[in-house]
């Protein structure tokens, strides 16, 4: 679903990512953990097509993002539920309206959007706050609303930057369960966190854990490739790529 091929990215002369290769498949949950300013947010922004790499390629559903026309980008982004750091919300709107909005953008009917949004809110324990104005919420509740907005409608790709930031233990547990559930529903889920414990909790629910350090990804266990086992189609694609490169 998401594939990064030898991606390098620098900002203000500082290399944030160096030859990073990573794949997140359908129904897979990958958690990238690392210290602050390790380049996790840049990695996720690249996967969410918000940034373009300086070198290498980002592939979303077998499409090279670098080859996409500018007008096509919104169509790709609609299918990637991206939770950036400090996610923006529609402050004057209710919690429910905020969570319904991405479904509307994806072309869902209003009633179906409401149902999908309510389901996401229920998953995160926010259903009783559906009518509250977002402007009146606490920081933790705002984070949950942003996360519910990302989860609503079971998007094919979830790219979540610090989804548990500022949450208490009960909410964190809900988030872990929700992410595991999203993976179970077939979404490709990529999570970045600097919280080792949270990364461990996700790993405990079947997430593949990788570490980002000095702009490079390091595998959690020796012998396990960061690129997951490829199916027949992907092998054909990989072979073709190798031949192109050679």
């Amino acid at each position: 679903m998401i594939r990064l091929d030898s991606v390098s990215f620098a900002r203000d002369g500082r290399a944030l990512l160096d030859q990073v290769t990573l794949a997140v498949n359908t129904a897979e949950l990958v958690v990238v953990h690392g210290a602050r300013a390790a380049g996790k947010s840049a990695l996720l922004a690249l996967c969410a097509t918000r940034l373009l790499p300086d070198a290498g390629a980002v592939w979303i559903s077998e499409r090279n993002v670098g080859d996409l026309q500018r007008a096509s980008l919104p169509l790709v982004r609609r299918n990637i539920a991206y939770l950036p750091p400090a996610p923006p919300l529609c402050e004057d709107d209710s919690v429910l309206e905020n969570v319904m909005l991405p479904l509307g953008v994806r072309g869902w009917q209003v009633d179906a959007s409401e149902t999908g949004a309510l389901r996401a809110l229920f998953t995160l324990g926010l259903d009783d706050r559906r009518a509250a104005s977002v402007g009146a919420l606490s920081a933790g509740e705002r984070q949950l609303v942003a996360l519910a907005r990302a989860l609503a409608g079971a998007p094919p790709v979830l790219v979540l930057d610090e989804p548990a930031a500022g949450l208490g233990p009960a909410d964190r547990e809900r988030v872990v369960a929700a992410l595991a559930s999203a993976r179970g529903d077939g979404s490709a889920v990529l999570v970045a966190t600097s919280d080792e414990a949270f990364a461990g909790e996700l790993a405990g629910r079947g997430a593949r854990k990788v570490k980002l350090e000095d702009g490079r990804l390091h595998g959690g266990l020796p012998g396990i490739s960061l690129v997951p086992r490829l199916d027949a189609d992907e092998l054909t694609w990989a072979e073709a790529r190798r031949q192109e490169v050679s």
Binding site: L52, A71, P88, C90, E97, G104, V105, V110
Partner: protein, 296 residues
């Protein structure tokens, strides 16, 4: 987004920006009203001035000693003067009929006992209209006064000059009002846009994050802006269509003219054009009011 979603978002936008949209509608209504009034004012001036000029006559009152042959000669000579459109003899009986008609229209019975014999014969001279008419009329009157047999000349030139200067002032005021309205509407629209732009920035960020296309991000503000602007223009034009005929009747009454043969009005095409321009203006306003989010 589906049509229902768009409608929902437009309603939300209208609720959130009710004040700014009302200001936009009011600014457009004022602009339509003043611009339309200025246009109609100019048309009224164009229609009234020739009418005034046509109704202005130099009247030369003749002495009783002037015989029929001399009168005919005088009228024929006057017709030869350049700038004189018509010259005709008015007999006392006709003058009395006119006087009675004028008195009746004013509700006066002051002329009830007057007989035709009290009134002098006169020559009624119509001077060609156009630039410098008051001066030409005054010059003609001065020449007539020197003619033998002419006892008095009523040139009406002072009144005409006054009326024409009033008309010139009305024309200038119409243009000034138009300029002020355009300027005021421009300032109001710019302020409304700047205020809306700040408020729309957060929404634009959210929609861009969710993968909405740039046109979709701007759609809500454009639709609400177009609707408010169209509403304002309709109100402005509608008010003008109702109020202007009454104002015109008031002016006609004040000036003492009969109803104009063709009352100045706005054509269907002009109204349609005004509404389309207002619609486009509102749409563009909403478009500009939404900050552009970087897509890459």
């Amino acid at each position: 987004m589906t049509a229902r979603w768009i409608l929902r978002r437009v309603r939300r936008e209208a609720r959130r920006r009710a004040g700014a949209l009302a200001a936009l509608a009011a600014a457009v209504a004022l602009l339509a009203l003043v611009a339309g009034a200025a246009l109609l004012g100019l048309r009224t001036v164009r229609a009234v001035v020739p009418l005034l000029e046509h109704n202005v006559h130099v009247i030369a009152y003749l002495g009783d000693e002037v015989g029929p042959a001399e009168r005919e000669r005088l009228v024929a000579a006057l017709r030869q003067i350049p700038g004189v459109e018509r010259a005709r003899l008015v007999e006392p009986e006709e003058a009395l009929v006119r006087l009675r008609a004028a008195a009746d229209s004013l509700g006066s019975r002051a002329v009830a006992g007057i007989e035709a014999g009290f009134l002098p014969r006169s020559v009624e001279i119509a001077v060609a209209g156009g630039a410098g008419m008051p001066a030409r009329t005054a010059e003609l009157a001065a020449r007539l006064r020197k003619l033998p047999g002419v006892v008095e000349v009523d040139a009406m030139s002072a009144g005409l000059a006054r009326l024409l200067s009033w008309m010139g002032l009305l024309r200038t005021l119409s243009l000034a009002a138009l300029a002020v309205a355009v300027f005021a509407a421009g300032v109001a629209l710019t302020l409304a846009l700047l205020s809306a732009r700040a408020r729309r920035r957060a929404d634009a960020r959210v929609l861009a994050l969710l993968g909405e296309a740039p046109a979709g991000i701007r759609r809500e503000a454009s639709l609400t802006g177009a609707a408010a602007s169209l509403l304002g223009a309709t109100a402005g034009v509608g008010t003008l269509l109702v109020v202007f005929p009454r104002v015109l009747r008031g002016i006609e009454g004040a000036v003492g003219l009969g109803p104009l043969a063709v009352a100045p009005s706005l054509g269907a095409r002009e109204i349609a054009l005004a509404l389309v321009v207002a619609l486009a203006l509102g749409w563009m306003g909403g478009w500009v009011a939404t900050p552009r989010e970087r897509t890459r």
